[in-house]
Point group: C2
Chain length 320, copies 2
């Protein structure tokens, strides 16, 4: 019998989301387990994960109809099935964990496909979302960090070693750039992630006397900046303008690489679409080579946010 | 009978080179015609080209054994077979010429495959040269301009519209960058092409009093800078150091895109390997994300330079 269902697993630093998904992208059932209570014991974590997956499958009585499990995980490697040296996962911070093989063993042989979260998001958008029907696009995830998944001719680019698509760590400020989490300076992620936006606001408040509602906020987050912008706060609006301009400028170089038909945006910060889209489009079209001017669209994820991570991961399993 | 030979055509601004090539990459015979004596009459040029191709084939008596013709041409589009708005080709400067279709018609149906010169060079290196056996690499051609051909999973990346791989027009100097031939500022090509190297030398001579043998040269070319560096001229050596550093820095961002196993260099300026390689490697490894440090090699084309352009173009025809 043709197996018509897949499981999506989204591994995050605190929690892991699990869902059973059908071919139309409906999440039939879902559950959550903790990722952060196993210390460095990868074995214990994967056993708990397998138990939760089995319970999910049992709940919808699809025991024999699961084609495979797709996993999106930080530093997940598509080729090796490993999660290796992921700083935010205690059980994979100091070692390379053979995640896919270990999970398959616990699931009595159900095949497991694994990649990083941004690549999973790209497959999700292509299968169920805003990139349906597109063969060439670049997915940019704007969350705590900036991730990317590059699709060329309908396939995610994994590169020589499985780690391709680290566009959050391309350079946008060449001199005296901000120090990034990766240890280098001037990366896109240091400016255009949720953390980057908050950092821009804090820096600008310190450097000027400009009035802003943000002056009364302790420990500013990107959400505070968004709320302030909604109220018309000029400094907050300028922060988004700056962020959008840096993103659009970066996109113009990405386009020179793979000539995509669209840039697809997803993630918490992408919710600030109303403030980001215009400066992004302007900067992209001003900086791109003439042959691509006004030809590449910027679109936003159309997946329901609570389901998106599971859907993205699950979509990987259709290719198994 | 299995057709065992291909024709390679390298279209340049002044001349067009034509050769018949076997599966081992030996050029059996070759000839040259002018590209620049037909004004805007694309039809006349393509008739002359077809006649020269037929004469070549007749010379080695392979009339029925030609699998196809591969063409490398500026602004050549793989998908459409057109050469469109190529500023250096009078017959294609103001129009889109259906090059592949027109040439096939003149050649009694022999199929024609066409792409730009840098993509052709990438296929050539993969088929006969330094990238044989590689599935993921980036070809950078350092000539009058800077071109690129990106290979992922053994295939050239053409992108949504056939124009992917314009890495010479990604930004390397964000503020007050040099004006590039494309009309924008700060492009890699404006610094790291043969013209860019000569420009750097001239600028530095003007801006300083530093002694240099180049002060006695009129209309400095990149070749003059190379000769001066060979004599140990300090300013010339610094020009190559600067050029190599910019290239290596740019490579570190290219790697974040497609995670290639190598960067392959070709073109007139690549002959300055002895002065470029060290600063290139140093800058690349200093600026690349930690997972790729000391993992991506920089290699130089291994094709005989007089044959390389024909071989690159001819290699396209094997895929027909």
């Amino acid at each position: 019998m043709n197996k018509q269902y897949v499981v999506g697993v989204d591994v995050g630093g605190q929690t892991t989301k699990i869902g059973v998904v059908d071919a139309r992208g409906d999440v039939l059932t879902q559950t959550v387990i903790r990722s952060d209570i196993y210390g460095s014991d990868a074995d214990a974590y994967i056993k708990a994960l397998a138990a939760a997956i089995k319970a999910c499958i049992a709940e919808v009585q699809l025991e024999d109809q699961i084609r495979g499990v797709g996993v999106g995980a930080p530093n997940g490697n598509y080729y090796t099935g490993e999660v290796a040296y992921a700083p935010n996962l205690a059980w994979a911070a100091g070692q390379a964990v053979k995640f896919a093989d270990m999970l398959t063993a616990q699931l009595d042989g159900i095949p497991v496909s694994l990649t990083n979260d941004a690549n999973a998001a790209a497959v999700g958008e292509m299968t169920y979302g805003a990139a349906r029907g597109m063969k060439n696009f670049i997915m940019i995830t704007l969350g705590t960090g900036v991730g990317s998944g590059i699709v060329i001719d309908g396939k995610v680019v994994y590169g020589h070693d499985g780690f391709a698509g680290e566009l959050g760590h391309t350079n946008v400020v060449r001199h005296n750039g901000r120090v990034c989490g990766c240890g280098r300076q001037g990366c896109l992620e240091a400016y255009c992630s949720a953390i980057g936006v908050a950092r821009t606001a804090r820096e600008w408040l310190e450097m000027s006397d400009e009035p802003s509602v943000l002056r009364h906020v302790e420990k500013i987050t990107s959400k505070d900046v968004y709320e302030a912008a909604k109220e018309g706060d000029k400094l907050a609006l300028k922060v988004f303008d700056y962020t959008g301009t840096l993103l659009g400028t970066a996109f113009s170089d990405f386009i020179a690489f793979s000539a995509p038909e669209a840039i697809v945006l997803f993630g918490g910060l992408a919710r600030s679409k109303e403030f980001l889209l215009e400066p992004m489009q302007k900067a992209m079209n001003e900086n791109v080579l003439a042959i691509w001017k006004d030809k590449v669209s910027i679109v936003f994820s159309s997946l329901k946010e609570s389901d998106a991570a599971i859907l993205g991961a699950s979509a990987l399993a259709w290719e198994l």
